[in-house]
Symmetry: C2
Subunit: 333 residues, 2 copies
Amino acid sequence: MGKIKVASFGVGVIGGAAARFILGEKQQMEFVGAFDIDQGKVGKDVGEVIGLGRPAGIRITDDLGMALSDADIAIHTTTSYLRAAYPQLESILSHGVDVVSSCEELSYPYVVDNGLSEALDSMAKENGATVLGTGINPGFLMDALPIALTAPCKSVRRIVVTRRMNAASRRVPFQKKVGAGLSVAEFEGAIKGGLISGHVGLEQSVSMLAGALGWKLDSVDIGAVEPVIAESGTDAGYVSIRPGSVAGVKQAARGLVGGEPRIELNFSAYVGSEEEYDQVEIDGVPPVNCRISPCVHGDHGTVAMLINMAPKVVAFKPGLYTMKDMTLPSAFL
Amino acid sequence: MGKIKVASFGVGVIGGAAARFILGEKQQMEFVGAFDIDQGKVGKDVGEVIGLGRPAGIRITDDLGMALSDADIAIHTTTSYLRAAYPQLESILSHGVDVVSSCEELSYPYVVDNGLSEALDSMAKENGATVLGTGINPGFLMDALPIALTAPCKSVRRIVVTRRMNAASRRVPFQKKVGAGLSVAEFEGAIKGGLISGHVGLEQSVSMLAGALGWKLDSVDIGAVEPVIAESGTDAGYVSIRPGSVAGVKQAARGLVGGEPRIELNFSAYVGSEEEYDQVEIDGVPPVNCRISPCVHGDHGTVAMLINMAPKVVAFKPGLYTMKDMTLPSAFL
């Protein structure tokens, strides 16, 4: 197998990190093109824009045909939302190029807009291309991994997945994103103002789990983003948190059958969480209780999932697929 | 999707357990045939032979064409060894029927006999059928699961997988199988006499892991089965173990690159093991350390893997495949 040729669709935070990883470390891939509409980036060498420390010999272009001219697959990283991604994915597919995307809603798009999902699937098939939405969450920790962990079960009654992150050990933008250090009133204002928002993808993960198991859910219940209130004071370096103020966020989602929660996802990220972990509890025959500790690093994980799924997407049959339908995921070295 | 129609090739311990599960609980499958060459079973109702408690309305036959006449897939459970399985698999494939097999060596057959593996692949493709070897171990705990756990890694340096079972909580035949209660001399005799044998599948798991990651191993080193010596006395109900006598077995396997162990598998099963667990430690970026505790129940797990992979095998393209190439595994309900 020759090197897989990759182009970036979007050179923002995630697209830039993926490009930096391919150009800097991932010798099994060839970086062949970069598309962005930001006129502050167009025409510049992609190495300069992403902080590679050397020119990559590839200029960012707003001409998609040029960016994709030599690509096997595009890494699409511009939006969390299916409807915003749709015309972009359509134009990539029209070039017959495969897509792996960080678009959260694309990870299980049927619950957002089934018609749009079917249109993408048809267009992919017509153009002999494959589309997958993936990432660390959604894409792995709260869906693909728990799905795989049900494989040794003769029956499954209930699945509970918990991701708990200690915001104290994260980057400052992450601490800000979870509202660490705000008063409760400030937090509520930040929610209203859209400065703090819910995790996009919980609905996708619940629905993908149900889809894999063949469960027909009566409803998917996505809880609001809620503040985690600090009980004692903490100094996290960047923020110092007083008792009674906000330490971070939590959010839960449930999939219900006959009023009973068969799937429960619990996400929390706050300063002061003692242990960080990703946990899957399967109430089944046999029971499977799995804990990854510390929790998987999200920034590395997102880039890794996009890169690691790329060769599997390139080798897969044409169409729109989700992680539950794909080849067993893995790193490749 | 209609019910998947399943036939048994072999109505022994595992085949019988799988048939009992399908006939007794698995309403999403239809049991349509049972093949065995044991003349003590041929002609009898399969429900009677497997202890279902009621007739199944299907007689065990030694006419393979009759057993498979209505089957989408055969569950093959007669042997651990590829060369013994080969003519049986050939005859199933000649009927154009898919196969999911508990044959341990078939889980990654290329390292046993590449020519035979290629012949199976060709024959499967010619007959439009799919063949997969799977189970709990090999098939999941020491290969498919660790492979999936590398997916969020940008790089992987080393993988260590440990399965530790407490034989005290297992069936008496299992305690006998691991030599619990024997003296060291008796244990050595049991090894020589073939009464206690190594775990078949460690070579398959090491090689599948390396294959998924794209590592070229210099060698695969399969350790001997060794006794675990009891330090203190234990009473496990069936056996009482004196200090200095055998509590059970351990075995290790390694995959080496340049003299360095990049893959390490450690299996142990003995009376007195405090904690039972399945553990995967990935030395990578990011690191992933995962523990399933207690360890996954092997008897349930083997049957579940065969049954749960069946619909994925039926839907898969023709050919011989291994768990690393297959669709993400899952239960289905």
